[in-house]
Amino acid sequence: MNDLGFPLLTALIVVPVLGALAVALVPRSNAALVRGVGVATTLVVAALSVWLLVVFDGNDAGFQLGEKYTWIADFGIAWNLGVDGISLFLVVLTGLLYPIAVIGVRPHHDPKPYLAWLLLLEAGCIGVFLSLDLFLFFVMFEIVLVPMYFLIGGWGYGDRVYAALKFFLFTMAGSAFMLVGIVALAFLHQQATGELTFDLVTIAEAQGSIAQTTARWLFLGFAVAFAVKVPLFPLHTWLPDAHTQAPTAGSVILAGVMLKLGTYGFLRFGLYLFPEAAAYFAPFLVTLGVIGIIYGAVVAAMQRDLKRLVAYSSVAHLGFIVLGTFAFTTQGLQGGVIQMVNHGISTGALFLLVGMIYERRHTREIAELKGLQKAAPVLAGVFTVVMLSSIGLPGLNGFVGEFLILLGSFPTRRWWAVVATVGVILAAVYLLWAYQRVFHGAPDEANAGTPDMDRRERLIMAPLLAAIVFLGVYPKPVLERIEPAVDRLIAHVEASSDFSQPEVAATEGER
């Protein structure tokens, strides 16, 4: 039990599950109650995540509010939770993005199972960010597939069955490698120390119990799973399908939260468990990330479907995060973490906006849309701000993340950073071009009658806009909470490999 006297982290996972059960038990006929229970649950989780933000100690680099209960004694598996500066904001992002997604989007049919699956998904996502036990982590990492599969398949558009199957099988294939890796890691650790455990911290701190070559192979096993989830080029092909066919709330959660499972996995497990191997493979992974940035941007520019365009922009943005992660500098990692949050906010908002356009026009074809600015000025205004955030305009949140990543990766990965900068320009190209085609010009007959945003839609976009501006203007409170954990992680990498952070990149506090 932690100092709070209240199992806050467990509650963050259990409350959505209980909410899902409650939703499942409410009779189908009472649609208002179903929705009420669902929304209330997400609000409670949001409140809990804000509480977590308040009680989090920003100066502590280690894991906080830990909770540990034995689960399967025979294997040394425990229900082991903890939070540090890296996972904190991802949990908060999940907690706060959920009410917006749930309130903002109404499903077209069967709201009851829809809400139940969404809430189970929330529990799984938060569970991934809080797990400090390899087994528990894998369970959470894998269980999120099921709700997402049913959400895409049940409430999606167009070729939803194909998209759902592809999403499930791609991710599961990646996880297969990781499961073997996790089991091997635990047993090798047992052979070296005599203790069978799946505890992340115990195994990670016992560097040297596993031979260098073995550790590299194991890292690759983990990396495949994370690379599929991120997704890194060339394992990204499931993403456009899943994002495009998913229902709007599904896309928001998929882009906002679930893609972060991969990059978070790289940070928490890749770097922490296998620092030497991570440093060894870093050039390779950074190259893939940069290819993703350029490739995602170029392909996004070619898209005719607005939602697919946003989906490909995710590939590019996640490439930035991978670049920052494997730059191994304080700024790079900080930028990576904050960019995860930024991408969640701005891409989530973009998907909401595309969903709103679809609700009005029943098409996402860019060619079919024209001059919406005239018909729906508020929608156009909000879209502009979110789009600029996604492009990385200074003063908005996207800039902070991308700038830190480029700053952090320049000393260690100079040429990659230079190429990645081109990606920033390309992002401006494809988003502005799409904006121009959709919103500018004189609307034709079909687009002229498009209604503007109603009050509910304005209400749900407001907090997102506020976050975009706040993080863009004053990111310090977030950054200073991330920094200790990031510094600790870099020190860990430096201690176990021949990598050392260049002086320029080290921050004031370290010297």
Partner: protein
């Protein structure tokens, strides 16, 4: 006859019967005979569901006897023992399988109850045969002698041949019975020949004696012994449906009455693995370098062939049949590890699998409808609308088979993968997990049909006869799903059960 003559006759030393040791067997056989005779002599038909209830009660009694035996064998003061002149071993392993197989009997009987009435086949025969077949399975698990293994195998199989052909008016049922019978007898011959060769090489059929001989002597030429291993592996591999001895499985599983398939896939596979584990992993432990590569090959082939061929099926029963082959591959992964953890993993897998597969075929029983013919994927289209709970139960069971976390199926896979990795079989572990992904596609296809296939054939879904869910089958499905989820979340008791059920080698006293 004068007293003097009698004195000359030398009495044969007859073994002492320990009634307690064989009490689960006696309960099962006794129940079967009583049921058969009483049903034959009764003037009037018994109330609905009486046969099934009787079978379930018998099974429960057998489990109770097993529980007493478990107390005896886990008591540190007394421990495992052999009985009936060293013919059987009572250890955690035997008790584990007694429980597993009896559970399969009880669940199978619950499924059969309404099925037989629906098909107009009501009578005690199926239940009697199920009890007898289960007895054979338990004998195989208890065996401490190759001859006893064969005895159990034949009891198990002959009853199953008849059960497969029990649906008199379905041609496929008759066909499957003949196929199963011919191929089954063929494989029994292999097994028997293997027993003969091993006897020739070691001079005994008793496990304790064989293991003692093998560890105490170095054979100058072991061709005879290795040929014996190979033949034994063929015979047992047939029983557990491991590739390349699997060709009967899809046809027989598809043709047999669905509750029988459920029983066949669970109890018969469990019994086959009981013998396989005890004979190879425990008795032939010294020769592990010789049989592990064979087991490796069987495991890889079963995993790949099972999961890939399942993908191209369009009949759900055939899909499940092929997936049961790939499950056999997974259990072989545990056996290949040739360690205590490997055996425990295989045991955990078998117990979890028993509930998953009985539940899955249970759903197929209900959806199959009158005539037991409607097993195409289209029969499941839109099931989530017509029977949401049934669809949900099937989904849980299918996801468990796919190895999704928080189900017993995931823990089972995790357990055997752990054993394989511990034994340095990394390649096998990876192949197993990747073939699980392929198999997952099959299970997802069925869920797609149930949940996402309702729009294209909406009109057809309305005209389909409603799927009835009778109380007996509902109970069986409920138990299967509850077990799958509860063990998935709180596996510790079953993990400990499997860990303590690793077989011990005992020589005859």
């Amino acid at each position: 006859m004068t007293p003097a003559v009698i004195a000359q006759i030398e009495p044969i030393a007859t073994p002492e019967i320990e009634w307690f040791a064989v009490s689960p067997l006696l309960v099962l056989v006794g129940g079967a005979l009583v049921l058969l005779t009483a049903a034959a002599l009764a003037r009037s038909r018994p109330p609905r569901g009486f046969y099934a209830l009787f079978t379930v009660v018998t099974a429960a009694l057998a489990v109770a006897c097993s529980a007493l035996l478990w107390q005896r064998v886990t008591d540190p003061g007394r421990g495992p023992f052999t009985a009936i002149g060293g013919a059987i071993t009572i250890d955690g392993f035997s008790v584990f399988f007694a429980v597993t197989i009896t559970a399969a009997i009880a669940l199978g009987a619950l499924l059969a109850d309404d099925y037989l009435r629906r098909e107009g086949l009501d009578g005690p025969e199926l239940y009697v045969l199920m009890l007898l077949s289960g007895t054979g399975g338990v004998v195989m698990a208890m065996a401490n002698d190759l001859i006893v293994v064969f005895l159990g195998l034949e009891t198990l199989s002959i009853a199953l041949y008849v059960m497969a052909g029990l649906h008199l008016r379905r041609l496929e049922s008759q066909e499957s019975a003949i196929k199963y019978f011919v191929l089954g007898s063929f494989s029994s011959a292999f097994l028997l020949y293997g027993i003969a060769l091993v006897y020739g090489a070691t001079g005994s059929t008793n496990f304790g004696a064989i293991a003692g001989f093998l560890s105490g002597n170095v054979l100058a030429s072991n061709g005879l012994l290795l040929a014996g291993f190979a033949l034994l592996l063929v015979g047992l591999g047939f029983k557990v449906a491991a590739v390349p001895f699997h060709v009967w499985t899809p046809d027989v599983y598809q043709g047999a009455p669905t509750p029988v398939t459920a029983f066949m896939a669970s109890a018969s596979k469990a019994a086959g693995f009981a013998a396989l584990l005890r004979v190879f992993v425990s008795t032939f432990d010294v020769y592990r370098l010789d049989w592990r590569p064979l087991m490796w090959g069987l495991a890889v082939l079963s995993l790949l062939v099972g999961s890939f061929l399942a993908v191209v099926q369009s009949d759900v029963k055939r899909m499940l049949a092929y997936s049961s082959i790939s499950h056999a591959g997974f259990i072989l992964v545990g056996a290949e590890a040739a360690s205590d953890r490997g055996i425990a993993g295989a045991l955990f897998y078998l117990l979890a699998y028993t509930f998953m597969v009985v539940g899955s075929f249970g759903v197929a029983t209900l959806v199959g409808g009158r005539g037991d013919a409607d097993h195409g994927l289209s029969a499941y289209r839109g099931l989530s609308r017509r029977r949401p709970l049934l669809a949900l139960a099937f989904t849980v069971l299918l996801l468990a088979q796919a190895g999704v976390p928080l189900t017993s199926g995931f823990l089972a896979k995790f357990y055997v993968i752990g054993a394989a990795v511990e034994a340095d079989s990394y390649a096998l572990a990876l192949i197993a997990m990747l073939s699980a992904v392929v198999a997952a596609f099959v299970y997802l296809r069925i869920t797609v049909a149930m949940y996402m296939g309702d729009e294209t054939e909406g009109a057809e879904a309305v005209t389909r006869p409603a799927v009835r869910v009778p109380p007996g089958a509902a109970l069986a499905l409920g138990v299967a799903v509850a077990f799958t989820i509860v063990v998935g979340i709180l596996p510790s008791p079953v993990v400990d059960f499997a860990r303590d059920a690793v077989p011990v080698l005992l020589s005859a006293p």
